[in-house]
């Protein structure tokens, strides 16, 4: 039982890191540009599909992954120039709607290009399989790779934002757009770069999860809301917050699913417990979010209003 608990703890962390990986680009765009991008999920999906195609063409997942990065960067650039650029000064409502429209467009386009059947990509031989953990418990190698990628992304973002010149500008931009304009920084091209970079992060996440998750036209949507939950809980604009929130959501979700019913059984009879468990489990993440926002209306690490 203790072993299992530790393993589930690990699984929870792992799921959290996966969520962070997916939400990272959104954190950047949302946090720094105060821009609500519902299309983040579909860009992530495009990343996964491109990874599949590039892997098939090149015959190598690694090459496919590498090609996906500039490709999604381009997707981000095109979208920024065509649509997003016109929306920065608009209210959140307009941003939500325009990107809702983009979700429809891109989802349908993906279905037209790649079809609606799920696709897959091969994991390189040396990354497949699993390593023994404790007793009969094993851990998939590729999961370790995903964890590594998530941690690297977190570290990289943190370094870029706190330790580099462009990061300083970003933070200044987040704090005060007029000021940064006054400093002579071309905020427009800065935003274009951030947005394209955010799209690339989304594409990277899509390509990273393609070997373990289904690549189908619904994949973007299924993570979109979770990604938003993560950055809203974390507090908008905070990479640290997003990371903490992702881990928290991962843990609450995983531990709640595996140990919630056991806890419930301690306080009520088994059939009522399993019924209650089934009702509560899918709501856990949302309950968590509601509680956190009720107590801290700007999220865990958000600026206090």
């Amino acid at each position: 039982m203790t072993n299992l608990f530790l393993l589930q703890l690990l699984n929870g962390m792992q799921f959290g890191i996966l969520l962070f990986l997916i939400a990272a680009g959104l954190t950047l765009v949302f946090g720094i540009m105060d821009f609500v991008n519902l299309a983040h999920g579909v860009i992530y999906m495009v990343g996964a599909y491109l990874a599949v195609t590039f892997s098939q063409v090149t015959g190598s997942y690694g090459l496919g992954l590498l090609l996906t990065l500039p490709a999604t960067l381009m997707v981000g650039l095109v979208l920024e120039i065509l649509v997003f650029r016109k929306l920065y000064d608009r209210p959140h409502l307009d941003q939500v709607l325009a990107t809702f429209g983009l979700v429809m467009i891109i989802s349908e386009a993906v279905e037209m290009i790649w079809g609606s059947a799920p696709l897959s990509v091969e994991i390189p031989q040396f990354l497949s399989g699993s390593v023994p953990l404790i007793g009969p418990l094993r851990y998939p190698v590729f999961r370790l790779v995903v964890i590594g990628a998530g941690l690297l992304t977190a570290l990289g973002l943190w370094l870029v934002i706190t330790r580099t010149r462009i990061g300083m500008r970003l933070r200044a931009g987040a704090a005060n757009r007029n000021m940064i304009a006054a400093l002579g920084v071309d905020i427009r091209s800065l935003f274009t770069i951030i947005f394209a970079f955010g799209a690339m992060l989304a594409g990277f996440a899509g390509a990273m999860v393609a070997p373990i998750l289904t690549v189908d036209p619904g994949m973007g949507e299924s993570v979109l809301i979770l990604a938003f939950v993560v950055i809203v809980i974390g507090g908008i604009g905070s990479v640290k917050g997003a990371f903490a929130a992702a881990i928290l959501v991962g843990l609450v979700d995983t531990l709640g699913r595996s140990f919630g019913p056991i806890l419930l059984r301690a306080i009520m009879d088994p059939s009522a417990a399993s019924q209650a468990g089934r009702v509560l489990a899918p709501m856990l993440v949302y309950i968590l979010m509601a509680i956190i926002l009720a107590l801290r209306p700007a999220g865990l690490f958000g600026a206090k209003s």
Binding site: L93, D94, R278, M283, P297
Partner: protein
């Protein structure tokens, strides 16, 4: 101020069109027209409800489909218990929505902006998953309604036309109510808070009470739409509460022009007809719909009626 007569004209024209539609359907020998119009009216009620808080209160609720679900499940649950009266269905829907809106609104209104959008979405998702797990009512398979609600014990609503006119009467009543609210003292406080909450506090208002009240009124109105929708489809399922549905309601309001109650009605009509029409043109209709939506957001801030007004 000079717009009001025009709008009164437009309202009269639109509602007259709705009123004579069944006769048109007769003349064209197309009874399905009444069916789809009933659905349009149900959504128009929901869009109207959303516009009250979104357009006038500045509160972007991305979870209003939850109230459609509450209204629809009120019909399903009461019917299962043998209670079929429409009045009681409406009362239960309104009561249920009021409770849900009071609790979730009190929490949500502590937040602002994007946090508000997301927390209303979160609460709607909770409602969605609650009904998905509710085995007694079919879970996500939903419940087929054996019959529609009754009026005074009579199954008059089984006639599509009677259902249509009932829905129409509710729409008209709620529209007039919403117009009255926006012009009332309460409406002025609500709009003022959207314009400048700090200013409102500085003249002695506590925005929270007014926003919460508006949120509850809006939720109750949307639940009425849910009751009509359940009767129109004879079927209730959690799919009514899907987050996409919430998004579509916002789209309807925006199509009609935010803060324009008649526009909300027109927006619902246009959005549904557009969806219907595009889906006939091509099976890839979401792509076209998405393009239109992006265009409207980018280039017409007053929605479709804005385009219209500019031309006249």
């Amino acid at each position: 101020m000079r717009i009001i007569p025009t709008r009164a004209w437009a309202a009269t024209a639109l509602f007259t069109a709705f009123a004579i539609l069944p006769f048109l359907a007769d003349a064209l020998d197309d009874s399905y027209l009444v069916v789809i119009a009933t659905r349009i009216i149900a959504y128009a009620i929901a869009a109207l409800a959303l516009d009250l808080i979104l357009g006038y209160g500045g509160l972007v609720s991305f979870g209003h489909a939850a109230y459609l679900g509450i209204g629809a499940y009120s019909v399903a649950i009461l019917s299962r218990a043998g209670i079929t009266d429409l009045g009681l269905h409406l009362a239960a829907a309104i009561a249920g929505a009021a409770i849900f809106a009071t609790i979730t609104g009190a929490i949500s209104l502590r937040t602002k902006g994007i946090y508000f959008i997301m927390i209303t979405l979160a609460f709607a998702q909770m409602g969605y998953f609650f009904f998905v797990s509710l085995s007694a009512y079919g879970g996500d398979d939903g419940v087929t309604l054996a019959q529609r609600s009754t009026l005074f014990g009579q199954p008059v609503l089984e006639s599509d036309r009677a259902l249509y006119y009932t829905a129409f009467a509710l729409l008209l009543g709620l529209y007039l109510l919403a117009v009255a609210i926006t012009r009332s003292r309460f409406g002025r406080v609500l709009t003022g808070t959207r314009e400048n909450p700090v200013r409102m506090r500085a003249i002695g208002f506590s925005p929270f009470r007014y926003q919460l009240t508006a949120f509850v009124i809006s939720g109750c109105m949307a639940a009425v739409a849910g009751v009509m929708l359940a009767n129109q489809t004879n079927y209730v399922s959690p799919a009514f509460m899907d987050w996409h549905r919430s998004g579509e309601l916002v789209v309807m309001v925006v199509f009609g022009g935010v803060g324009n109650l008649l526009g909300a009605v027109a927006g619902a009509t246009v959005a549904l007809l557009l969806e219907e029409w595009l889906s006939i043109l091509t099976e890839h209709w979401p792509l076209l719909f998405g393009v239109i939506l992006v265009m409207v957001v980018l280039y017409s801030r007053d929605g479709l009626s804005g385009l219209f007004r500019r031309r006249t």
